[in-house]
């Protein structure tokens, strides 16, 4: 190998990262689906001609981590038979790693006739057919029920649209205009990336770019190893039991993780995890590996632009035909529960190793889905509202609410946009402090949101966390966060409370009230050690009552008119007695 030009190497690396940022901008600005332009449930990735990740801009981190594996599957399928101007599409969950709604669109990049790279976008489609609108179906039993499946078809071949495929999409999804608009956005984003890579090749030569990125990946790998070598060797294990697979509740749905740090490598074993579930909570292998790898990268090197070097020193042991390694055509549509569990389990293990780099346990992904596919009562629509909730406390502060730490991080949807676009009125949107774990630093609070339905014929699905074995575990004496719930109150009817996830209930009519409460985060440390000033602030801001302050934290707060103060003497007594 030639001596590497270290300066040019950095320049090439920066330009590739910048290229993914430009691709992401194009996605956001052209997508038709709020899940993409508002919530940013997508990611973009640039890979080498052999499928090594060179750069990414994640919305959802696990998408890019799993992308190289999907591209390699496509290379094997086509035996390298790609041409300039081809655009491929794949959403087979066993190749992309997530669920069938997340569609990968990628493009081989050619320069002077030679395949030099791939660029791709993974995006959550508004609908992909299947038994439930919008995807994330909680009760499928095989992939066929989940929607239209692509496996590396050329949606564009040598620059020409494969009209048959587009027509096929047209007659298989519930909102074809939105889906095709998003697909156009994904292609535009790939073309953008392609141009950037080609101009880099023209300027520096393909060989130089390959060498530079090989060098960057090698450097990154060495740096990961050095970081890991500095951690003490040891084994750390944990497990989470899920309450249901969406189809049956009597089985056992266990996810086990053992992290072994040995020298400069990390070994992940998921042995002991349950066999493939009948319902759709299974997580395909690319994503199982992807979420562990991206969690580790985030814990150890959070600000480093991601590349293939971050995952070279990792080994995985996944039990075959299991909940974390299912095979076609096992159902996977609500794959996110296991992802969230794995991430929380990573934090639990690493809290013992690097407590200043991990949060305590957080709430699990929660979201409300409303839809109507028939036009009898009005225009069909699909509305998805992933919601924030309580994240785990940190070593030096309370847990956050306005984040969705687990699977990437997504912004919420403004109420004014929800109401303009969909037949719903939001009547309440506030913190739900009662679900937060209690401790020296409290867990993040949940969110309470009331949706009033303004039309008829509406079906609802709720992604609500697993309640058998909380993810929101407290640390070091802090209590666990409480779980969330859904309450449906039909007009003139009694409220029905759901503590577990439900799929496609309805139809509901005008006036129905849906209340979603998201779960709270786990706390850090003993409540009795909480700074009384923080307790005072929580009382002043009506997150807790003075009675809570006394009972939970041993702090006496007095109210004088409109203001509050700490009674230090009483607080000392309370805390001494505790």
């Amino acid at each position: 190998m030639r001596k590497v030009d270290v300066v040019l190497t950095e320049i090439i690396r920066n330009r590739l990262v910048a290229a993914t940022e430009e691709m992401a901008k194009t996605m956001i600005r052209t997508a038709f689906n709020p899940l993409l332009y508002e919530v940013q449930d997508f990611s973009v990735t640039i890979m080498s001609a052999t499928g090594d990740m060179w750069a990414e801009t994640p919305g959802v981190i696990v998408f890019s981590q799993a992308f190289p594996e999907a591209v390699r599957a496509g290379m094997a399928r086509w035996k390298g038979n790609f041409a300039e101007g081809d655009v491929l599409i794949v959403n087979d969950p066993f190749e992309t790693g997530t669920h069938i709604s997340d569609t990968n669109v990628y493009m081989p990049v050619f320069f002077e006739g030679e395949l030099v790279a791939f660029c791709g976008t993974a995006a959550h489609w508004a609908d992909v057919g299947g038994k439930n609108p919008g995807g994330w179906c909680p009760d499928t039993t095989d992939t066929f029920q989940e929607g239209l499946c692509f496996r590396h078809q050329k949606i564009v071949e040598r620059g020409v649209k494969n009209q048959g495929l587009w027509d096929l999409i047209d007659c298989n999804v519930r909102v074809p205009e939105i889906v095709k608009g998003d697909l156009e956005a994904q292609i535009a984003s790939c073309r953008q990336g392609c141009e950037r890579i080609q101009s880099l090749c023209a300027k520096y030569g393909t060989e130089t770019i390959r060498e530079a990125m090989d060098y960057v990946i090698d450097q990154t790998d060495r740096s990961m190893r050095a970081t890991i070598a500095a951690l003490p060797d040891g084994e750390y294990g944990t497990s989470i039991r899920l309450d249901s697979d969406g189809v049956q509740e009597d089985g056992e749905f266990l996810v086990c993780l053992k992290v072994t740090i040995q020298g400069d490598r990390v070994h992940f074993s998921l042995n002991g995890s349950s066999p493939t579930a009948r319902g759709p909570i299974n997580l395909p292998a690319p994503c199982t590996k992807g979420i562990l790898a991206s969690s580790l990268k985030g814990i150890l090197l959070p600000f480093d632009p991601c590349n293939a070097g971050h995952t070279k020193c990792l080994d995985f042991e996944l039990p075959p035909e299991s909940i974390v390694n299912p095979v076609w055509p096992a159902p996977t549509d609500s794959y996110g529960y296991v992802i969230e569990c794995l991430m929380e389990m990573m934090f639990r293990c690493f809290l013992n190793i690097v407590p200043d780099k991990c949060p305590a346990g957080g709430y699990q992904l929660t979201g409300a889905f409303f839809s109507r596919s028939q036009s009898r009562h009005g225009k069909p629509f699909v509305m998805m509202d992933p919601m924030h909730g309580g994240n785990g406390a940190l070593i030096d502060r309370d847990g956050a609410t306005n984040q969705l730490t687990g699977n990437g991080d997504l912004p919420n949807t403004p109420i004014e946009i929800t109401e303009t676009r969909h037949p719903f009125r939001v009547e309440l949107f506030e913190f739900a402090p009662e679900v937060a774990g209690v401790g020296k630093f409290r867990g993040g609070m949940g969110v309470r949101k009331d949706y009033r339905c303004l039309t008829d014929g509406v079906y609802a699905s709720f992604v609500i966390e697993n309640t058998a074995d909380t993810t929101a575990a407290g640390f070091n004496g802090g209590t666990d966060g409480d779980h969330g719930s859904l309450t449906v109150t039909p007009v003139g009817g009694e409220p029905i409370v759901y503590n577990e996830r439900v799929g496609s209930i309805g139809p509901f009519g005008e006036g129905t009230l849906f209340r979603v409460i998201t779960g709270g985060g786990g706390a850090w440390g003993e409540a009795i050690e909480r700074d009384p000033e923080l307790v005072l602030s929580d009382v002043r801001n009506a997150f807790i009552t003075p009675e809570d302050a006394r009972r939970l934290y041993g702090v006496a707060i007095e109210q004088n008119g409109g203001t509050w103060s700490i009674d230090l003497q009483k607080t000392r007594e309370l805390r001494a007695a505790a």
């Binding site: 950095e10 320049i11 939105i178 960057v216 985030g298 991601c306 780099k357 919420n412 309440l428 506030e430």
Partner: protein
Amino acid sequence: MTQDRYRVAVDVGGTFMDFVLMDEATGAARVEKIPSIPDRLHEQFLNGIESLDVDIDSIQQIFHGMTVGVNALVQEKGAKVGLLTTKGFRDVLEMGRGGRKPVYNFLHQAAAPLVERYLRLEIPERMTFDGEVLTPIDLEAVDTQVDLLLARGAEAIAICFLHAYAQPAHEIAARQRILARHPHLPISMSHEIASEWREYERTSTTVLNAFIQPTVQTYLTNLETKLKYTNYTRALAIMQSSGGVVDAKTAGQKPIRTLMSGPAGGVIGAKFLCDRLGYANVICTDVGGTTYDVAIIEEGRVLERSQAEIAQRPILGSLIDVISIGAGGGSIAWLDHRGGLQVGPQSAGASPGPVCFGRGGTEPTVTDAHLTLGRLDPAYFLGGRMQLDTDGARAAIEKKIAEPLGLDLQLAAQGIVSIAETNMANAIRSKTVERGLDPREFVLLAYGGGGGLFACSVAEELEVPKVIVPNAPANFSAWGILTTDYMEDEVRTKVMPFDAAHIAGALVTMNDLETRAASGIGQYGFADGDIERVKRFDLRFENQEYTITIDLEDAWQDAASILEGARKRFVESHIRLYGHGEPDAPLELVSIRCRAIGRVRAPEIAPMPERPQGAAMRQLDVYFPRTGKAVPTDVFDRETLAAGQVVTGPAIINEWTMTTIVPPGWQSTCDTFGNLVLEPTL
């Protein structure tokens, strides 16, 4: 004949206040710089005016770029704000939108809400998204909640009700009710501050306005009073983020609009200068010690955007689209955990500054690298006012960068400069690409104290064919303020299909906005016929979210031609930006915008005096990547260059506050106004 002879710009920065005095008749400008002392700004303001040494009666108007508002915000020293929201929604401000940018950072911390929860109280009232009253406002609740806020120490009130952009009646009613009982309480209403949808962003903007308003208003009122004592009673025009000016009264009520005015002066100056020179497409680059600011002029229009962020807090409102990255002379070179060479965003700032300043800096910076490469003249830096420590700079680069990377000193120094330059080029690329623009069709204008050092290399990287370095580049922003016009923006979000059935309603709204914007400008003494209107629609394809802003042409007289013309223009823009666009797909109109402009008489640009061509002052050995070694390089004094004089690279052109590098393969031509025009010769 002294009457109305001059206009003056006062631009306050972090370290200095810049004063520019321009002779209306000739365009000749004079520059003063005095230290900016935070608690004595008024005094320094008057001292600066006095130091210009002209009769106060001869000053026709004073233009002012201020930082009072942004400082109050950054230091979080503002009023204690009480917020009134729609019942059920007081937590919107604290909830935010979420979505952390560094997605892998599990320790990320969002900005704390500027108004704590106990100061956010709710009012029973509700509008629907289309502006119908669902729940009438409970005005007695306004009384009790405001009393409670005042008892809890609130000094200013912000009101943000849901869908107030569609129907502001409840905000107005609440305000009237409050003023009836508390006539002097400062109140900011969301529909006035930012009449656009997205409740969090609008609340944030309104709260920020309320937070800084008392401070800014007091500052401006006192300034006007003090100016009156000096017998100056004419216009005091305040620079806005959008690049226009407003009067002090408006700025005192809506200071949020002035928050990002810092980089605006330079961009407006760039537009003015480039209009005169005949360049329609310009990349404006302002290089300071710490940041590199990029803005774009396309086809003679300064590109704007409608949202900014300060300290993670969003602000809605028209502003010049400036991207700012941490790259400048003071940017520090360092090796990351991989051993990869990085430059910035950390900066050594002015203190301790680069190693070569000899003020205790130990980390090698871009300026140290330039010095090591021979591009800065150690004896003549800042016109010889500062001695540079070349040995110190070289030693720091050797030890911290060259040795660990196994590079020789000059390659390491060139590496630092190259990485800073590609970061700059990436910033420009990001700005042009997201608009679908090709940098090769632009000229690059370089100003700020470091502009000339990087301009040609950055241009080469982007294949920009021409670079312009204006006169007095370090004071260019202040000069730019002198060329601004009065500007009032009105906007309303009103989502509707863009079709024949709805266009009439949209045009009624447009008329209303036009009346309001024009009457705003009319207050400054402009006759109605002298007020220009720029009318714009934010359009998108149905189901899309992000919009493209389309200028309406005066030639489109009736509704049908507006529908047709705007559609055509929208689809063309969409195809250019994103590569696709169905000509007949349904469109939605999202926001209606009107800008009224009162044109200030354009100043002249002074031609440079005739003089013989200057010779090189001396030679330095300078390293260039293209030569691969240090080569003897002529150094010119810019003050001695004559109109039409060509300087062929490699060369260095020095002036008081800036160094311009003419690399090998480039040449510089001095135009008749004294601007340096640099072009590649290869």
